[in-house]
């Protein structure tokens, strides 16, 4: 319902009954009258109403007659009360509504032919429906168009002041970037303070604008809605897996729209706990890479002169021949493969089957290894599950949320709206622990800015504080009392004062945070890149499990531990067993039963479970010359890992580097064969989002040029090697996945997971917990500043740098982000330059003041390699999960 949900997990509203058009209806007390009417299936026109925010009541269309009142009332702002008698139809109401449309139209320019909303305009529909033909006293506003913003143009002549844009920005996005302003005699929508609009550019205002007042610069005037073919698919940028409509014209993508639109305005406000249907800036405006000119269109094979275009059949044949040759000369162990987690589940499945059965090697990994694997391994080890525990509904309705090391508004903007709704609508206490002043921290009830790299210490401090304040849940800990005493013993090594000193958060605040988390009936932990991509990510995740366990938040409904993923299908990569330690499921690769099952299903022996190497080991072995052939599917290790890791040496050692990607990246320059792959918009298949929901990708375009689906290429290679994989289309692969993983495609409903920590707590917990809590102190570096490679909302990995729209919004400034105080202290004006020195290199670059960066830290976006800030960092490899950590280091900064 548009009004704030009257029924929350804590309160139940009373039921009332009222009479609408002669029918008796029951409703919850406090809901809007308009919602009661629309829940009956009656459609009363309304132009300023949308179920995702509070009713505004400006359009004057939703008029109904209430018995006992002379004039019609606006049903959206009226609350339904007991015994109301309402009439929604009739000639008098039609005339009143027509008058309202005429009022709007009389100041609306009739420039429909050039307007982008033509054919998708509520005012047009209303004028048609109410037969408005004659407009007396029509006048023009003659307001010049506001084109100052990078993304959106505001044509206030067309505005009907419905306020939907302002309301969605305020109530749903909680950014509040727009406002009404009286200017030139008219009420206009302007960016806050009448500056150029500079916000997150989620484009939700554009989606809900019922007329053409807000238009999109990237597709302005190039389309009419009826020319476009709309394909429902899933966004591939991050793990949120938002549904979106890719709208294409012939062979180009014209725009991307969202299920959120003024067209579907009827709904229950309570449903927004599952998402509001909108997109973020990446999904909505970052589509240009799909039909980019830079895309690879044909296979390339290296000859004496360089990479030369080659027909598919020849390229596949030579590659298969060379793979067979390497396999026979050096054995299967000398071949390895890496795949990006932007591929579909089906492609990931075929990839691991291809590697394991055709090439016979267990050296395979995906980009989930860069962080998500830490979380998966930790919860797999401790709780026997393989993904996040909560749905977005749990997150929204939580009473306390601990967001630790997760800048969710930047990395997963749409999922972060659930946390924002928890704060705003459901009044949750949110504890944000981060070394940046994140946008969520600005909204949260308990923001805690820790020193860089001390998130792990803070978690230990929380556990310690829970034990000290006796916030232990007796039921949960009763299952394993010896584990509780082991934890208590281990926590003796942690002192709250030391934690306070290390993190910079006072002891009382840590204690308060622990109290809030432990005492709330529904507490959710959300950890992100600041935990799983930073050193000791695995151990820190286990500490979060400790915290959830002792406070009894593991098995209660609405409680749990969660993470958000960076790439579209990292969860799918884990589920499909694209890792040396997992088979599809995921089940441990060493498990005899599973090995039996899969070797029967694939009719081939499986490679030895112990022989498998993960990403870091594969690259190490390439450098050592042990691996001779590497198959890279969409992976660009050269662009991702720091130079000191020696990717360049590793790749140049190879006898055969097969590179498969939509773009010719820096890694491709070392390739012997380059296969052109498709982007997500040309693919058919499924992806699994971070919640475990399996969603469809549908092809919006035919593959560009001669580019091919990733799994087609793998099947082609297998055929060339004389071992055919039995797939002709995506459905064949899906049928096989259904067979080996029953229930994986579960109609979009994630399978509920049940955490079971008992086995973990009873076996060897004492040793592991002692080791984890023993050395609380991070090694002090002589360098005062913490350098973080951060993710920006406008970008995702390196893929978004190929989208011209996103590059327009957020170009590579090539500047180090520092806090205002630090800039002042170092005497740096805007545009000043500094020399940044780490233990591994030194670099001169510009400086940019950023209010979100805390003093003592500096940040650089990880999406850009120019200047090569990433090379200042050395890779630290996790001893257990082999996750490479290269997102932070200590540096010194001097003014040049």
């Amino acid at each position: 319902m548009a009004l704030k949900p009257v029924t929350t997990p804590d309160t139940e509203a009373a039921t009332i009954s009222l009479n609408i058009d002669g029918e008796t209806v029951t409703a919850k007390e406090g809901v809007s009258l308009y919602d009661v009417i629309s829940s009956m299936g009656k459609i009363v026109p309304a132009m300023c109403y949308h179920y995702t925010f509070d009713p505004f009541g400006s359009c004057g269309m939703c008029l109904v007659l209430q018995e006992g009142k002379k004039s019609p009332v606006r049903s959206c702002t009226a609350k339904a009360t007991e015994g109301m008698v309402i009439r929604t139809d009739g000639e008098d109401l039609f005339a009143a509504r027509k008058k309202a449309v005429e009022k709007h139209l009389s100041v609306h320019p009739l420039d429909c032919p050039v307007c982008d909303a033509d054919g998708h305009c509520e005012l047009q529909d209303m004028a048609f429906e109410h037969q408005v033909t004659d407009l007396a006293n029509a006048k023009q506003k003659n307001i010049p168009e506001d084109t100052r913003s990078l993304v959106l143009d505001f044509n206030m002549n067309r505005c009907i002041a419905c306020g939907e844009c302002i309301n969605i920005c305020k109530d749903v996005q909680r950014i509040d970037a727009l406002q009404f302003m009286k200017k030139g005699g008219f009420t206009q929508v302007v960016a806050k303070g009448d500056h150029a609009l500079d916000c997150e550019f989620c484009g939700d205002c554009l989606a809900v604008c019922p007329v053409g007042a807000i238009t999109n610069k990237f597709s302005k005037y190039v389309y009419k809605p009826w020319q476009l073919r709309k394909t429902t698919t899933t966004c591939n940028y991050c793990g949120d897996g938002c549904q979106m409509y890719v709208e294409t014209k012939d062979t180009e993508v014209v725009r991307v729209t969202s299920p959120l639109s003024w067209k579907n305005k009827w709904g229950d406000r309570g449903d927004t706990v599952n998402g509001h249907g909108g997109l973020c800036v990446r999904g909505r405006f970052g589509f240009q890479f799909i039909d980019s000119k830079e895309r690879l269109k044909e296979p390339l094979v290296r000859n004496e002169t360089g990479l030369a275009p080659t027909p598919w059949i020849e390229a596949l044949d030579t590659t298969a021949e060379r793979l067979t040759d390497i396999k026979s000369r050096y054995g299967s162990e000398a071949i390895a493969g890496l795949i990006t987690a932007r591929c579909t589940n089906e492609e990931l499945y075929v990839f691991q089957r291809f590697m394991r059965t055709v090439l016979g090697t267990n050296n395979l990994d995906s980009s989930a290894r860069y962080g998500h694997m830490n979380f998966v391994r930790a919860v797999h080890h401790a709780l026997g599950i393989n993904r996040t525990m909560n749905t977005s509904a749990d997150l929204t309705k939580a009473k306390a949320i601990l967001v630790v090391g997760a800048n969710v508004t930047e990395t997963n903007p749409v999922a972060s709206l659930r946390v924002k709704a928890a704060i705003g609508t459901y009044k949750a206490s949110v504890i944000v622990v981060d070394s940046m002043q994140t946008n969520l921290a600005k909204l949260a009830s308990h923001p805690m800015m820790v020193k860089p790299g001390s998130e792990g210490a803070f978690i230990k401090g929380l556990v310690k504080s829970v034990l000290e304040q006796d916030l232990i849940d007796p039921d949960a800990t009763a299952q394993a009392p010896e584990a509780l005493s082991a934890l208590k013993a281990a926590a003796r090594a942690v002192s709250l004062d030391a934690v306070a000193a290390e993190t910079g958060i006072p002891v009382e605040t840590i204690q308060e945070a622990a109290r809030i988390f432990a005492e709330a009936p529904r507490s959710v932990i959300l950890c992100g890149e600041g935990i799983v991509r930073q050193p000791d990510g695995y151990n820190h995740t286990l500490s979060l499990v400790d915290l959830a366990w002792v406070t009894g938040k593991l098995n209660k409904p609405g409680c749990g531990i969660n993470t958000f993923t960076e790439e579209g299908n990292e969860q799918g990569a884990v589920d499909m067993g694209v890792a040396p330690e997992f088979l599809p499921g995921p089940v441990p690769c060493a498990q005899a039963e599973a090995r039996q099952k899969f070797s029967e299903a694939w009719d081939a022996p499986l490679p030895d479970a112990q022989s498998g190497k993960s990403l870091v080991e594969i690259l190490d072995d390439c450098r050592a010359g042990k691996i001779k052939a590497l198959y890279l599917v969409g992976e660009n290790p050269l662009g991702t890992l720091p130079k000191s890791f020696g990717v360049e040496e590793a790749l140049s050692q190879l006898e055969l580097l097969i590179y498969q990607d939509p773009f010719l990246t820096e890694t491709a320059h070392y390739a012997h064969v380059v296969f052109p792959a498709c982007t997500f918009a040309e693919k058919d298949g499924t992806v699994t989002n971070q919640e475990g929901m399996v969603q469809f990708l549908r092809p919006a375009l035919d593959p560009l040029g001669e580019s091919a689906l990733d799994w087609h290429i793998m099947v082609g290679l297998a055929n060339g090697m004389g071992q055919s994989l039995p797939y002709e289309n995506t459905q064949d692969i899906q049928a096989e996945i259904r067979k080996v993983l029953p229930g994986y495609y579960n109609l979009g409903e994630p399978r509920p997971v049940v955490a079971d920590a008992v086995a973990y707590l009873r076996n060897g917990y004492a040793d592991s917990v002692r080791a984890r809590y023993a050395d609380g102190r991070a090694q002090k570096s002589g360098r005062p500043y913490g350098l973080k490679l951060i993710q920006l909302i406008y970008h995702s990995g390196k893929l978004s740098t190929k989208a011209s729209g996103l590059m327009d919004i957020s170009p590579n400034a090539g500047a180090l982000r520092m806090s205002l105080e630090e800039c002042e202290r170092l005497g740096l004006a805007e545009g000043g330059r500094v020399r940044v020195t780490s233990d591994h290199g030194s670099l001169e670059l510009g400086v940019q003041a950023d209010v979100n960066v805390l003093p003592g830290t500096c940040a650089f976006p990880e999406h850009f390699n120019e200047p090569p800030v990433k090379d200042l960092v050395r890779v630290v490899v996790d001893p257990i999960t082999h996750v490479p950590y290269f997102k932070s280091t200590q540096v010194t900064i001097e003014k040049v």
Partner: protein, 191 residues
């Protein structure tokens, strides 16, 4: 009865009556003005409402009328029109067609596109002679359409008048939109 019928037939045969009947028509036409005319040396006068080849028109100052609104494409029952539009950054709020195609081989000359056009940029002309050896030239592009419009401007205007769509520029403003509308404050005060 039978004998009378037979006599008539015999007489017809002897007197060549059928020939005379036919010759009567021939002789009558010898004194009649000819119905046919010697195309292509002579040409028919075509009514103003005639639906011939389509052309794109300009305003009197030479500016393209078409705003690339694509309504013609939407109205076309045989789907022979394709419009590609873009923003003209030099003028405020100006949209124009970068490409405009009419596949005249598919056109059914219904004139719906002309009716749909909000700016009267399209009109039908009296041009009907465009037979060719190369079918590809029958895909009229924007340049060709403007050429047709420029050559047959008078006819096109007559067509619009005959179909009650436009009288003169000023008068048509009352019921047709004239683009670009002056939008900015300064332009508004000028006009």
């Amino acid at each position: 009865m039978d004998t009378q019928k037979q006599t008539t037939r015999l007489l017809d045969a002897v007197l060549f009556r059928e020939i005379w009947k036919a010759m009567k028509v021939t002789f009558k036409h010898m004194f009649h003005r000819p119905m046919t005319f010697q195309y292509p040396r002579e040409k028919r006068t075509i009514p103003d409402a005639h639906r011939g080849a389509l052309g794109l028109l300009r305003y009197d100052n030479g500016q393209e009328r078409c705003v690339g609104c694509d309504l013609c494409e939407a109205a076309c029952p045989s789907r022979c029109i394709k419009v590609i539009s873009e923003e003209d950054k030099s003028l405020p709020l100006q949209r124009y067609a970068t490409e405009f195609y009419i596949d005249i081989t598919k056109c059914v000359f219904c004139g719906y596109c002309v009716e749909a056009c909000p700016v009267n940029a399209l009109a039908m002309t009296k041009m009907y002679e465009y037979s060719t050896h190369d079918k590809r030239t029958l895909m009229f592009d924007k340049q060709r359409l403007y050429e047709i419009g420029d050559q047959h401007l008078e006819d096109a205007k007559k067509y619009l008048y005959a179909h009650n769509q436009e009288q003169d520029d000023e008068e048509s403003r009352t019921y047709r939109y004239h683009f670009p509308q002056p939008i900015g404050k300064t332009e508004a005060s000028d006009s």
